[in-house]
């Protein structure tokens, strides 16, 4: 088990280093930060430009610059400064991260709490009306673009019915609609996966045996079968997280949610590369970290996984 965990941690570190190198070189390629930092209105002479370049260390070789960046990042948590606002990126991150985490957690919670029981129910009551409705929801949830569902929700519940706020962060009420929209895709996937895994389990020998033994049907289903059907959904957690991060970019944009996703889009459209760098690295870190946790949990749950290779 220790070897398995160590290997997974090492893989995660390598992935993050690779990501940082890719992002850093991307930023490096997109333009000269010294030119961007020099305000346009001042007729900046070549000397000032050269001096700034020297100050920022842009004259040094690429790998040295990368090393310096990583050193400042790891020792001081320094992500550099926004080109536009001149604020330190880490302060902006600290403002934005809680909002995104809140939204992602709510989305994940909703998709689990609804998707898993609904999938199991679909399998148990196969071909019933409930199963058919579930199937339709899943098909729609996997096909409808999230940004569009978000906008339709804003029109219907926010503007027309005026039930819930649809703009910005705040209390629980602000969280409800964005979280539902964010959860829709993962929820659909979880329903489908839960259904098929439950169908497999219901068909297995031990369930048949439990039934033959005369066990009550509700105990067979919820105590024995459902428990096993949930295991494959765990690995799906990692995938779901990628989906949630993807979705949160779009959902944050529509609901004006002040999170990392919006910061990232602002960075890209305003060509504020240090911001893009900071947000991508932080999202990447969250993603890799959760995937690592899921992998390790899965290693505990299923010995076959950790003994492979």
């Amino acid at each position: 088990m220790t070897r398995y965990i160590l290997r997974k941690v090492a893989e995660a570190i390598v992935t993050l280093l690779g990501l940082s190198l890719v992002v850093f070189s991307a930023v490096h390629m997109t333009g000269d930060p010294a030119r961007l930092l020099l305000p346009v209105r001042i007729d900046a002479s070549e000397e000032v430009y050269e001096q700034l370049k020297e100050e920022l260390g842009l004259n040094r070789p690429f790998m040295v610059q990368y090393y310096t960046f990583m050193r400042d990042l790891l020792t001081k948590g320094d992500f550099g400064r926004s080109v536009r606002s001149q604020k330190e990126a880490r302060h902006l991150l600290v403002e934005r991260i809680p909002a995104t985490l809140q939204l992602a957690a709510a989305g994940l919670f909703l998709s689990f709490i609804i998707g898993v029981p609904a999938g199991i129910l679909s399998a148990v009551k196969r071909d019933s009306i409930a199963d058919k409705i579930g199937k339709a929801v899943a098909i729609f949830g996997l096909a409808a673009p999230q940004f569009w569902v978000a906008i339709m929700v804003v029109i219907l519940f926010g503007a027309y019915l005026q039930w819930l706020p649809v703009y910005g962060a705040g209390g629980i009420r602000n969280l409800i609609l964005p979280a539902i929209v964010l959860a829709l895709g993962p929820l659909a996937a979880m329903m489908r996966l839960g259904r098929s895994s439950m169908l497999d389990i219901l068909d297995s020998e031990f369930v048949k045996f439990a039934r033959v033994k005369g066990m009550r049907e509700s105990i067979v289903i919820w105590k024995h079968a459902a428990r096993n059907a949930v295991i494959p959904l765990m690995t799906f957690g990692g995938l779901t997280l990628a989906g949630l991060l993807n979705g949160s970019i779009v959902v944050e944009q529509v609901f004006a949610w002040p999170g990392l996703g919006r910061m990232m889009i602002e960075g890209v459209t305003q060509r504020d590369m240090p911001l893009v760098q900071a947000t991508v690295l932080v999202s990447g870190f969250f993603y890799v970290f959760t995937a690592l946790v899921v992998d390790i949990l899965y290693g505990f749950a299923d010995p076959r996984i950790r003994d492979a290779n």
Binding site: V14, T15, G18, L19, V22, V23, A26, V27, M29, T30, I139, F140, L142, A143, A144, P145, Q146, F147, W148, V149, I151, M152, V154, I155, A159, Y160, G238, L239, A242, G243, L245, N246, I249, V250, Q253, V254, M264, I265, G267, V268, T269, R271, M273, V276, V280, S283, G284, Y287, A291
Partner: protein, 292 residues
């Protein structure tokens, strides 16, 4: 007499065709949706009643089903929504086709290489594929758009990058099951070069899988393109693309709901059609992929 046999021969052929179509259980509705989409994309200039970019401020914000000239209404600068939707089919089809083609070529080449070469080549390619596949595709696309700037080319690259890893993974898996078979070993003994073995002997055997995984990737490609366009990371604003149209409707949501509604419905229907079609192709060509 001859005409009679001729006719009955034709009738036989027709009924045989219908019979085999029934046996294949072609999903007609999705198939028709896809054919209509391709038709719209090809003949957009002929079919669209108006110029998708022409603004007409006097007739802006016309609601749908009011005038014959703009049956689905006009947007906030008076562009015809129906024409923009038809041209949007063209944009979507164009970007998806090139992105998919790029993703398929890269994925296939890397998958074949990875599976056949094995060892460290395999490890490196599959590590990169896993890292890319796990990473949120919009995040990835944003990095690419940040590097290359906005436009047609960056969006194609961005979508292709999110497509290739899954294809490479599937192809590699198939290659592994093919490469130890006798005909490959015999070719090796005969001194055939690895490149020729892969191309002439391995590739034809993974073609079914490739077709299935390609058709299953279409829906994702369309959705990614639409999301990027919506976020303003794709084509310049004003261009007729479904994602951009949904975003444009946000200007005055309550008063002009139709600008956002129609393109979204179309994306949903098209993605559903490709999902169903891909599922059908998988079940009929390669049932063992059911769990993909």
């Amino acid at each position: 007499m001859t005409t009679l046999t001729g006719e009955s021969g034709q009738a036989n052929r027709l009924s045989a065709f219908m019979e085999s179509a029934r046996e294949l259980r072609v999903p007609w509705t999705p198939a028709i949706v896809i054919v209509v989409l391709v038709f719209l994309a090809i003949f957009a200039p002929v079919l669209a009643p108006n110029d998708p970019r022409e603004t007409d401020l006097l007739n802006a914000r016309t609601p749908p089903f009011q005038t014959l000239s703009s049956p689905l209404g006009t947007d906030f600068v008076g562009r015809d929504v129906l024409s923009r939707l038809i041209y949007g089919a063209r944009t979507s089809a164009f970007i998806s086709m090139f992105a998919l083609a790029a993703g398929v070529v890269v994925g296939t080449v890397l998958g074949l290489t990875s599976g056949y070469a094995g060892r460290w080549v395999d490890t490196i390619i599959m590590r990169i594929a896993d890292a890319t596949m796990g990473f949120p595709s919009i995040l990835l696309a944003m990095i690419i758009v940040a590097i290359l700037g906005q436009g047609l080319m960056p969006i194609i690259v961005a979508v292709a990058v999110s497509t290739w890893p899954r294809i490479a993974r599937m192809i590699r898996g198939e290659v592994l099951s093919v490469k130890d078979q006798d005909f490959v070993t015999l070719a090796k003994i005969a001194g055939v070069s690895p490149a020729v073995i892969v191309w002439r002997h391995v590739f034809p055997n993974v073609l079914n899988t490739l077709m299935v995984i390609t058709s299953l990737s279409v829906a994702g490609v369309i959705l990614t393109e639409a999301s990027l366009s919506f976020l303003g990371l794709g084509l310049p604003p004003g261009d007729p693309a479904w994602g951009i149209m949904v975003a444009e409707g946000r200007v005055s949501l309550l008063k002009t709901w139709w600008i956002s509604l129609f393109p979204g419905v179309i994306i949903t229907v098209v993605v559903m059609a490709f999902n169903f079609f891909g599922d059908w192709l998988r079940d009929s060509l390669d049932p063992k992929l059911r769990r993909v």
